[in-house]
């Protein structure tokens, strides 16, 4: 460069310029700045995923006993606390948060001599309660979680209606691994499941491709996994953290995938692991081979007791076989689960109705303990005029007849009363039979509840409609229309409300809004009750009752020291609750039989 005498004068140009020094006052941060944390406590579910992803262990979940704790909705009473001595403001916690409750704010100044002030429980107001705006917050285009469930191959309506073959095809290997890998391992499912299945563990095993470990984790709590993998009411999925912003993990289908892949020998080996080799010498009778009875039998047999199940029907399984249609639960899959339990040494005596072939009293004499697992096999009646007509059936009766292969006069047009899953089961079963017999479907279903309040699963309702079942929600049955001893239909009126102010069942009708559904058969599917005819009068007197149900303690123990009761008989309403009951009762029986020597 050339030098010049006047060169120093160039500095004069800087006199009018602003200095380049930086301002000392804090200025507002950029709109997506990563400052101190914010957390919406209402939206936060305490799943702890932020804690898991934090690479500096700066996040710790803190328990708050006063907060809402709702395992069924998937909410834990804990919230994240941040240690700003460790936080690096990477905001991975924000990008992975399944609910989107956590965000980083535009606040960035905190000066204090007290180190404790650097540990905060972020809320919506920020570290100093000054309500700084959100900075780095959830963005849909770079979410770290996959909110879309892997699609499940299912037969279409035309295909389904043709026969009783299973509708759902199950995941293939690739879909199962991808679906399993969506799980964030928060354990909400474990808490929500009545049996507290180890779903995070078996999902993790599946994403690692380890079927054996998955089956082992499943069998820790569930001896009927092929059944639950198909027809479980999956409270786990309702509670799943992924449910908040997308599809929950298909936990039920993953369980089914694990069981479908597992070799039978492997399943048997896993079921036998930990079985007590030496017989205890105690004998237990279980009445009923539904999920509650089978689970109790499984646990007790593993504990070394001699277990005999008495089953009134020709084959074991209870409602799983005689209530659930085969298109939802193929019976060979049920048989596989039951065979595992049989191979543990459980004897199942079918066609043996207690109270008829053998008395309860003799069981009491012969066995050290008796478990009642008889379920609810009698249909309730609406008791409306005309309901005593021979062409009025109960749904559970018809479903059992279908399973047993017993014929019944197949109606041209059937009217089903009820809005639960049993109503859907019978409507769809009859629809299939009509399709095979007459080439057309003629089933009408009426329910007291409005469409969105019906108790049946949403997919059941949708699939029933697809298969040609006409659903009329919000209607109350008035009487069966009988013309010269011939049933011709059901008269209904609009139902305005079902319960009164006190929450008691007291439907209100609009009598002016009448509809008559044509049909030569009416099927009632409004609830079931137990067949307690086996209890003699003396026992009836001695037993404590809770309303119409036998009173039991938390372990299923009745007021009689030798008698336990499990399953639908004491609390509903599904297989997984019965399994949970079975475990508790088996534990209680075991302790009672072994006294102080009982090993948990």
């Amino acid at each position: 460069m050339k030098s010049s005498l006047f060169r120093p004068l160039k500095a004069l140009a800087f006199l009018g310029r602003e200095p380049v020094t930086l301002p000392m006052e804090p200025r507002p941060a950029a709109p997506q700045y990563r400052g101190f944390h914010l957390n919406d406590w209402e939206a936060c579910i305490g799943c702890g995923t932020c804690e898991k992803i934090c690479d500096n262990a700066a996040i710790r979940m803190v328990e708050f006993p006063d907060l809402a704790d709702d395992p069924l909705k998937g909410i834990k009473p804990r919230r994240p606390a941040i240690d700003y001595g460790r936080c690096c403001w990477c905001a991975l916690c924000v990008d992975i948060c399944p609910t989107g409750s956590i965000a980083l704010s535009r606040e960035y100044v905190h000066v204090d001599a007290d180190l404790n002030t650097f540990f905060i429980l972020p809320d919506e107001q920020g570290i100093h309660g000054e309500g700084f705006a959100k900075g780095w917050a959830k963005s849909d285009d770079a979410d770290l979680l996959d909110h879309h469930r892997q699609p499940m191959a299912e037969a279409g309506a035309d295909e389904r209606i043709a026969d009783f073959r299973e509708i759902v095809e199950g995941y293939d290997d690739q879909r199962a691994v991808i679906e399993a890998s969506r799980c964030i391992q928060c354990g909400m499912c474990h808490d929500a499941c009545p049996a507290h299945m180890h779903a995070p563990e078996y999902i993790r095993a599946l994403w690692n491709g380890d079927i054996e470990e998955a089956v082992r984790q499943i069998y820790r709590t569930n001896p009927l996994p092929s059944v639950c993998g198909r027809i479980c009411t999956h409270r786990c999925e309702t509670a799943c953290s992924m449910h908040h912003r997308g599809d929950p993990i298909a936990i039920r289908w993953l369980k089914r995938y694990a069981m479908d892949q597992a070799d039978r020998g492997l399943v048997q080996r896993i079921a036998e692991q930990g079985q007590v080799g030496e017989a205890s010498g105690r004998r237990v009778a279980i009445i009923g081979s539904g999920p509650g009875g089978l689970t109790a039998a499984y646990d007790l047999a593993r504990a070394g007791h001699a277990v005999t199940i008495f089953e009134a029907q020709p084959e074991p399984g209870g409602m799983m076989r005689y209530g659930i249609p085969e298109y939802r639960l193929p019976y060979d899959k049920l048989d596989e689960d039951i065979q595992v339990i049989r191979d543990l040494g459980v004897e199942i005596r079918c066609n043996t109705r207690v109270g008829k072939e053998i008395t309860l009293d003799s069981l009491k004499q012969e066995y050290d303990g008796v478990v009642l697992a008889i379920g609810l096999h009698l249909g309730r009646s609406t008791r409306i005029p005309g309901s005593e007509h021979p062409q009025v059936f109960s749904a559970v009766d018809l479903l059992a007849r279908i399973t047993r292969g017993e014929g019944f006069p197949l109606p041209q047009d059937a009217v089903v009363i009820g809005g639960g899953n049993v109503a859907m089961d019978i409507a769809r079963s009859v629809a299939r039979m009509q399709h095979a017999e007459y080439g057309r479907v003629g089933v009408t279903l009426t329910a007291l509840e409005k469409r969105d309040q019906m108790l049946a699963d949403e997919e059941e309702i949708r699939e029933a409609e697809e298969e040609g079942v006409c659903i009329f929600p919000g209607r109350g049955p008035q009487h069966c229309v009988v013309d010269a001893d011939r049933l011709t239909g059901l008269k209904t009126v609009a139902c305005l409300s079902i319960f009164d102010e006190q929450g008691r069942f007291h439907p209100k009708y609009d009598e002016t809004d009448e509809m008559v559904f044509q049909g030569d058969m009416v099927i009632e599917a409004i609830g079931q009750m137990p067949d307690l005819s086996m209890l003699d009068e003396q026992l009836n007197e001695r037993l404590k009752w809770a309303g119409r149900r036998i009173a039991v303690d938390a372990d299923g123990h009745t007021s009689e020291p030798w008698l336990w009761a499990v399953g639908d008989l004491v609390q509903g309403p599904d297989v997984i609750h019965a399994i949970a009951d079975g475990h508790r009762a088996a534990d209680s029986v075991h302790k009672a039989l072994m006294g102080s020597t009982a090993q948990p």
């Binding site: 020094t21 700045y33 690479d55 690096c88 905001a91 285009d141 994403w207």
Partner: protein
């Protein structure tokens, strides 16, 4: 009588003395020391003495999920963190066979060049400071801050951006960002003549820096020198052109070289590179709005992300030279082994120990800085 194994203690010549140079001094961007032997003010011998910033990054990375490491890698080099994120992410993408969407590739290129601009501005200030010219240091740092403001807007953070992620980037560019970047580039261009007056064309600088710490092209190749330091020896090697990644093959730019191989040449090459980076950024600004699409490829759940068995070596032209990441996966959710090939390792150890010998004590700091080595990256 002396025992047989007696060896007399060897004393240095009486005019020589040892000086512990560092670890805190303006000669380098962090804590780093030299054991210098001097005779008068002439350097006789130098031993590099690093390790003050060793945090065990490579080992730490083995303990972290693939995605968690993006929060760790920028810390390996403070003044130029984006190439760290980029190189690591690219290795993970190779292992996981992830294709980066085109828009994300353009945004990543933008980030890399912005980072180069900040690093070079920091360098100008730093090099000036080693000669006691603190005005230039303030200017360099404050102009760098304007680019950091843009980084804050784009990535949410000023220095450790943690913005590039395997599969793409974490957020799209904000509204009006490219306009503001363009204005900042205009500003920087108006500043260059002033920097010239104050620093590059300053006779003091020229006299001090010319001939300081020279190396020949042969020596540079032998010692593993890369980046601007290599180009200052007359070798036009640049990974952006010679092993292009992202969208560099669609961009036009020159590769400035000088032939002297001394501190002055190294500084002047960086000055030219700043101009080239601005030129590249202008091309990206013109092109980016027309590149639509997602900013990140779909990634598996980071908690369950098993990368297949294998290894990958990726390299990036950082402001300091060739930055490489060798990442090995054994099929798990975390790296099995990561090795960082940082350019500063070569520059600050074997090169510095050689080229400082024979120089004067007051030039040691500027020679160190002219290599633009980054101690945290040397120590890792």
């Amino acid at each position: 009588m002396r025992p047989e194994n007696y060896k007399p203690v060897k004393h240095p010549p009486s005019e020589e003395y040892d000086l512990y140079f560092g670890p805190n001094h303006p000669g380098i961007e962090g804590n780093y020391a030299l054991k210098v032997r001097l005779s008068g003010d002439e350097v006789q011998h130098v031993r590099a003495d690093g390790g003050y910033l060793h945090r065990g990054f490579e080992k730490l990375m083995e303990e972290r999920l693939w995605i968690q490491n993006i929060a760790l890698v920028p810390r390996i080099c403070v003044p130029d963190p984006v190439p760290m994120e980029e190189t690591y992410s690219r290795a993970v993408e190779i292992l996981g066979q992830i294709e980066v969407p085109e828009r994300a590739q353009w945004i990543r290129t933008l980030c890399l060049e912005m980072s180069r601009v900040t690093a070079h501005l920091f360098y100008f200030g730093g090099h000036a400071a080693t000669m006691g010219m603190y005005s230039n240091m303030f200017w360099g740092v404050s102009d760098r801050d304007r680019v950091l403001d843009l980084f804050e807007e784009l990535t949410g953070a000023r220095v450790y951006h943690m913005y590039t992620t395997p599969g793409g980037v974490r957020r799209d560019i904000p509204e009006g960002f490219l306009q503001r970047l363009s204005e900042t580039l205009d500003y920087l261009e108006t500043r260059l003549p002033e920097f010239d007056d104050l620093f590059f064309a300053n006779p003091v600088v020229e006299n001090r820096a010319r001939g300081a710490g020279p190396m020949s092209p042969e020596q540079a190749l032998e010692w593993g020198v890369t980046g601007p330091n290599l180009r200052a020896c007359g070798l036009p090697f640049d990974l952006r052109r010679d092993d292009p990644y992202l969208v560099y093959d669609q961009l036009e730019f020159d590769i400035p070289t000088r032939s002297e191989g001394d501190a002055y040449a190294r500084t002047m090459v960086r000055r030219e590179e700043l101009i080239q980076s601005i030129y590249i950024l202008r091309q990206v600004i013109a092109r980016l709005p027309s590149v639509k699409g997602p900013i990140r490829a779909p990634l598996p759940n980071p908690l369950a992300w098993n990368l297949p068995h294998g290894d990958a070596y990726t390299r990036t032209e950082s402001s300091k030279g060739e930055l490489g990441f060798f990442v090995v996966s054994n099929g798990g959710t975390r790296p099995w082994r990561v090795h960082v090939r940082g350019p500063s390792q070569m520059h600050a150890v074997q090169v510095l120990e050689q080229i400082t010998v024979g120089q004067r004590l007051e030039d040691v700091a500027q020679i160190m800085f002219s290599l633009d080595a980054c101690p945290p990256e040397v120590d890792r």
